[in-house]
């Protein structure tokens, strides 16, 4: 139904796509896999003819015989949203914040003149009902919805005119595992029901293994391998596919080094958020974001903390870092209480690495400045030459070169930036590092190398890791013990292997079932 033949693309003369060819049949789910920068999204945008300025595309892309690349803009507009629909990665920003969701779904119908106002509203309601949002009504604004619900709204708007092809560009990357599974199920059901074709673009091999019947692996603007999903995964003829598969299932070599003495102890920790204002003085009941959490972390141990988004993982992390006060219980590190008044000498021993290194770096600082920042926590911080040596040493520890010191963060790739963030965390020779989704934004091959690095550092420095993630594959690969959190409480804990092989709590089972490809790989 859709035939792409020898699609090449360059932007301002830089080649982006090289002879991409693929075919998708009716009712088929076609997975397009590759790491960031491989050209997946550009392939999709070329089909939609929504390319950035300066882009020149050659080749053919036929949808039911019509060559999309040869169509004028007016002809393309008639197809977009009608025969050819697309949903994007970021559901949080993909909807207009000042329009009710029903209006945005109905717009697809109105713009194509497919229905009058009243009828469009009715169809919009049906579509929202179909994607599982029937109970919230059409008058709700996007800000009142969760990420998963917003993605459902986008899907509703995309399927309103029963398109022939739906392109989903990383539709679940920003969502947690359970929501991801629900969205993927919804897409699968819609494909069967409407007999449309689905081009599912993702960096996550696991997502396509469960969903797509055919996949194509993309690398540096080319499709290096394509065929039936089972064939590709079983045989991986192409060396790149093999690397990709290996990297996504990668487990760093490490032993359990946990020492008997505890490093960090939490006992019945409670973190309350004030309730919503109800009038001038009255407030609603406070939200118990963290509700009686207790656990120990030992020297040299990796402890995983998993749970759906919004379960309180990050709130707990902020309390452990002494950034926010707790309203009950005790947190002690090295035998001393942790609170926002934590003395600098102790603060230096608890460091953190966040998910988005770019967001946690000041873009106008050089790497030397960035990495040296935690030094102010020390009583006698090294200065001048000594400081540069110190930074160089930290950079070497994360396999960067001392020369990188004089560069700015934008000069590095995502993986390198995360290395810089780890170097920064190592500066004060900490005992505890909190890794809050530290590898979630990275490509699988980069992620594999960072996990190796973390394992090596741990062995060498006896670090205690608190590894917070919604990605169960990673947690299984790097942690000794795991805590499962739900609605502010720890509902299950134990040795990682035991919890993963025989989960006891329903929440753990849901998480494991939702995790795509965890069984397959």
């Amino acid at each position: 139904m859709i035939h792409v033949k020898n699609l090449s693309l360059s932007i301002h003369g830089t080649p982006i796509l090289d002879q991409v060819s693929l075919t998708i049949a009716e009712g088929q789910i076609f997975g397009l896999v590759g790491e960031s920068g491989s050209g997946k999204s550009m392939t999709a945008l070329a089909l939609m003819q929504l390319l950035p300025t300066g882009a020149v595309a050659t080749g053919h892309a036929r949808l039911d015989g019509t060559d999309l690349l040869a169509l004028p803009e007016a002809g393309m507009r008639a197809l977009r949203g009608a025969s050819l629909a697309m949903i994007f990665q970021e559901p949080m920003t993909a909807l207009n914040p000042v329009q009710p969701i029903g209006v945005q779904v109905a717009e697809t119908l109105l713009i194509h003149g497919a229905a009058d106002r009243g009828k469009a509203r009715k169809i919009a309601r049906d579509c929202l009902h179909r994607v599982g949002l029937g109970h919230i009504g059409t008058e709700v604004y996007p800000h009142a919805l969760s990420g998963g619900q917003r993605q459902r709204v986008c899907i509703a708007a995309a399927i309103a005119l029963r398109p022939r092809l739906l392109i989903a560009d990383e539709p679940t990357t920003a969502l947690d595992v359970t929501t991801q599974a629900q969205i993927l199920d919804l897409l699968k059901a819609l494909v069967t029901e409407q007999n449309m074709a689905l081009l599912l673009i993702t960096h996550d091999l696991a997502v396509v293994t469960d969903t797509a019947s055919r996949i194509a692996v993309m690398h540096q603007g080319r499709i290096v391998e394509q065929g039936k999903t089972t064939d590709i995964l079983r045989r991986h003829r192409h060396p790149y596919t093999r690397t990709l598969c290996k990297a996504s299932a990668h487990r760093p070599e490490r032993q359990n080094h946990a020492a008997p003495e505890p490093l960090l102890q939490l006992s019945k920790v409670v973190r309350l958020y004030p309730g919503r204002r109800q009038g001038f003085f009255r407030r609603g009941t406070p939200l118990r974001a963290v509700d009686g959490v207790s656990f120990d972390l030992h020297y040299g141990e990796s402890l995983g903390l998993v749970g759906e988004s919004g379960c309180g993982k990050s709130t707990l992390a902020r309390a452990i870092l002494g950034l926010e006060p707790i309203q009950g219980g005790r947190i002690t590190a090295f035998g001393k209480p942790v609170s926002p008044q934590l003395p600098n000498a102790l603060r230096a021993r608890i460091q953190v690495v966040f998910q988005d290194p770019y967001g946690s770096f000041n873009p106008r600082w050089r790497v030397e400045h960035l990495v040296a920042e935690p030094l102010h926590l020390m009583a006698n911080p090294p200065v001048g030459r000594a400081r540069r040596d110190h930074v160089a040493e930290a950079l070497k520890a994360v396999h960067l070169t001392p020369k990188d010191m004089d560069k700015y963060p934008h000069e590095f790739s995502g993986g390198q930036r995360q290395r810089i963030a780890i170097a920064r965390a190592l500066m004060t020779h900490p005992d505890i590092i909190v890794l809050d989704e530290a590898v979630s934004a990275l490509d699988v091959s980069v992620r594999a190398r960072i996990l190796d690095l973390l394992a090596t550092l741990q062995t060498r420095m006896k670090l205690g890791y608190l590894f917070i993630s919604h990605d169960l594959t990673v947690v299984r690969a790097i942690t000794d013990r795991v805590l499962v959190m739900q609605a502010g409480r720890i509902v299950e804990h134990g040795a990682t292997r035991a919890v993963f092989s025989s989960p006891r709590h329903a929440c753990t089972r849901t998480l494991l079932q939702a995790a795509p490809g965890l069984r397959a790989m």
Partner: protein, 341 residues
């Protein structure tokens, strides 16, 4: 559809608030308005205390000033009593503030008439002038800013950006004189100054036209630039791309999705501009011999007519706060996220 109805209910973040946040909720809007009104009333009270104290600490009171250097202490004391300058600080503040609330602004020392009459006369010139200038400014700036944003990097964009730069740079009194020279002296379409009063609305509007244009030029230039950058910023948002994927043309995406989101910074500037136009038109009022509020406060200051200064300042603060309140309401009307705070 059983499988989806069940699963979706799970990712509703706050099921309890679901009904409350549904659509345009008049109750939420009213609650928000009351909330804003409450905090603005507090600011108004704070401002009145500051104004009163500042006027109080200025050395030399009005009685001494009015009677001249040769007055005996007894006459000064008598006049002070007469002017209501006796009593404790608190009593005087209370008399002044409560008078304001009742609409009694005191009596001007120099004109010997109630300040409220003076202010009201002037307000009938300044308020229409400000509104006139602001409407002109918005009428010019909206389409101009939008055209510049929609055609980013084109000749039209560069032309508009250059023109607005010039509009900001040109001093408005010079521009006003230029207008007088062209339209009043040479072409003789308008009179060069003065105000005939509202008995002849047509003539009054005509007399305000040149001043309004002179005032609107720099404001329109600023507003057009704000409009352009606000629209450009929203054009980079993901929901514009979603709209394009839905089949909207670039122009439709701008008009249907970018415009309303871009209005928020634009409203902020409009609010600030109105406050400025109401009192800041003093130079233009002088060029065109208009009896406006700016001239009144200027005369009050030079003649040490502190009652006038105090009252007009307070009135302007009130106007600013009122406009802020209206802008706040406009925010909430535009953006559903603001209504629930």
């Amino acid at each position: 559809m059983p499988p989806f109805g069940r699963s979706s209910r799970k990712d509703t973040p706050f099921p309890a608030f679901r009904t409350r946040e549904t659509g345009f909720n008049l109750g939420a809007m009213l609650r928000y308005a009351l909330h804003r009104l409450f905090s603005l009333t507090l600011s108004l009270m704070g401002a009145s205390v500051v104004i009163f104290l500042v006027i109080e600490v200025i050395p030399g009171d009005s009685a001494t000033f009015m009677l001249g250097l040769n007055a005996t202490p007894e006459t000064v004391a008598a006049l002070r009593e007469d002017l209501g300058l006796g009593g404790s600080l608190w009593e005087r503040y209370w008399a002044w503030a409560s008078g304001m609330v009742r609409g009694d602004f005191g009596t001007s020392y120099t004109y010997r008439v109630p300040v409220s009459d003076l202010v009201l006369d002037r307000l009938w010139v300044s308020l229409p002038l400000a509104l006139y200038a602001l409407s002109l400014s918005a009428l010019i700036a909206f389409p101009v800013g939008l055209v510049a944003a929609a055609g980013r990097g084109t000749a039209a964009d560069y032309g508009i950006m250059g023109a607005t730069q010039l509009g900001i740079a040109v001093p408005n009194f010079w521009f006003a004189m230029l207008l007088v020279l062209i339209f009043a002296v040479n072409l003789q379409w308008f009179s060069a100054g003065g105000f005939p009063g509202w008995e002849h609305p047509g003539a009054a509007m005509k007399a305000l036209t040149l001043p309004a244009i002179a005032l609107a030029l720099p404001q329109a230039s600023i507003l057009a630039r704000v409009m352009r950058s606000a629209v450009l910023e929203t054009l980079d948002q993901d929901y514009i791309r979603t709209a394009r994927a839905r089949g909207l043309s670039h122009r439709q995406a701008v008009l249907r999705h970018a415009l309303r989101n871009a209005l928020i910074p634009v409203l902020t500037i409009i609010g600030l501009q109105f406050s400025f136009l109401l009192a800041g038109a003093i130079i233009i009022e002088n060029v065109f011999f208009l009896p406006g509020l700016g001239r009144l406060i200027f005369q009050g200051i030079t003649q040490r007519d502190l009652v006038v200064v105090e009252s007009v300042t307070m009135l302007l603060v009130f106007a600013v706060i009122l406009v802020t309140f209206l802008v706040d309401l406009a925010y909430a009307a535009v953006d559903p996220r603001i209504r629930q705070t």
